[in-house]
Assembly symmetry: C2
Homo-oligomer: 230 residues x 2
Amino acid sequence: MPASPAVATAGSAAAGQGSRRRAGRPVGGVLDKAGITEAALRLIEKKGYDGLTMAALARSLNVAPSALYNHVKSKRDVLLLLEDHLASLVDVSPFGAGPWEDAVRTWAWSYRDVFSQHTPLIPVIAVLPVTDAPQTLAMYETVSAGFRDAGFPEERIVSSIVALESFIFGSAYDVTAPADIFDPGTMAEATPSFTGAVRSLAEQGHERPADVAFSLGLEALISGLGGLRG
Amino acid sequence: MPASPAVATAGSAAAGQGSRRRAGRPVGGVLDKAGITEAALRLIEKKGYDGLTMAALARSLNVAPSALYNHVKSKRDVLLLLEDHLASLVDVSPFGAGPWEDAVRTWAWSYRDVFSQHTPLIPVIAVLPVTDAPQTLAMYETVSAGFRDAGFPEERIVSSIVALESFIFGSAYDVTAPADIFDPGTMAEATPSFTGAVRSLAEQGHERPADVAFSLGLEALISGLGGLRG
DNA sequence: TTTATAAATGAATGGCATTCATTTAGTGGT
DNA sequence: ACCACTAAATGAATGCCATTCATTTATAAA
C-alpha cells in the first residue's frame, strides 16, 4: 500500500497550507502550473537556483517529487514556466505612449534588471520557441508594434529586437559578476594598457560599473538602430 | 590491492595512445592540464557538452575519474581551462594594424564565432576573474591597447569592451537557436505586428538570420562607441 | 453503483561530481 | 644500495540529482 500513509500528508497539506486550488477548476489535486511557478519563485528567492531541485520544490508544496511530473514534463518545463512569468514583469508600458527612444530605454533597463536576478534562465530562453511562452510572445507583440509605429521597415524589426535582446542578456550576466573580476593580479606588469584602463575606471568610483557599460552600449544601440527608421 | 590491476591499464594507455607526455617534465604521471584541455576539447567536438563528464573525460585519457582531481580542483576548473584556451583562438591581430573600426569588427565576429560553439562556457566566463585566465587577459591587453591608441579616454575603455562583450555573448547564444524559434504558432492572430515582422524577415531568405542581427547591432555599437574617442 | 480518470505515492534507477584510504613508482639524499 | 618522500594513480564509497513506474486514492461522469 504505497500511497496510503501519504493521504494524510497530502490532505493536511492542502488544508494546512495557503490553498492553491482554483475556483472553477475540477478539484483534481493540490498542484497546478501557477502554483508550481509561484513555489519555484519563492524557492529561488530563498535558496537561489542551486536550491531549485525537484525534490526541494516538491517539499515546498508538501508533495512527493514524482507528483510534479503530472504537471510538468521535466525540470526544463519548470524553468520555462519561470521564464514566461518573468517576461510579464518586463515594463513595456511606454511603447506607444512616448518617443521610441524612451520606450526602448525603459524596456531594456527593465528587461535587464529582471533577468539579472535569473541568469540561469538565459540559456533556456535562447533556445525557447516563443510558441510555448505566451507572456513572452505578448511582450514581443507590444515591442514589435512600437518599432513599426516608430517607422521601422518591417523586415528589420525582428533583427533589431534580437540585437537589443542579445545585448540585454549578455549584460544581465555582467550585473552578477564579482567586483574584482578584472583584477589582473600578478600579471599586472605584463598588461599595462588593460591594467591602466581598469584602474582608471575604478578611480571614477561608480557604484555599479555594470550600469555604466550597459548605459554606454544601450545608447549606442538606440542611436544606431534608430537610424534604420524610414 | 586496489591499484595493482590498474597499472597495466595506465601503462598500456600511455604507450597505446598518442603520448601526452611533455619532454622536459618530470615523468610523474600521464596527465597534465594541457592534455586534459585537449582531451576535453575532443570530447566536446564528438559528444557535445552533455558528453563532457568527468568519467568520460577520464576514460578518454585511459585513467580513473579520480585521477583528474590531482590536476584540477573541480569540473569548473576544466571549463576554465577550456575557456582560456578558446580565448587564444580569438583573432586580435588587426588591432594596431589598421583602423579601429575594422579591428573591432574582426575581433567581435571572431569572438562570437568561437564561443557560439561553446555557449555552456558563457555563464562561466561571466564570473571568471581574469587572474585565473592568462590567455583571456592577453586578449584584453591587446584590445585595450587598441582602444587607447584609437584615442579612447582611459576611463571608458573597460566599459566599452564590456558592452561589446555583453553583446557578443548574447549573440553567441543566438547562433544556436532553432530556426523556428519565433514561430508564433496558434497565437499568430493575436500578435499581428510580431507575426508580420517575423514573416517579413523570413521572406528576405537570409541564410543565417543571427548574422543579420549581429551585424546590425555590431555596426550600431561601433559607430556609437566610436564617438567616445577624444 | 459502477467505471474512468486525474493526481497522488514511495520505491527504484541510473548518472553525476567528488572524496578517501590505499598503492605505486619514480627522485634525491645518504 | 638503501631509504624516505612525494606526486600521481586506483577503485570503492557517498550523496545528490532528475526521472520512471507500478500502485493507490479520490473525484467526476455515466
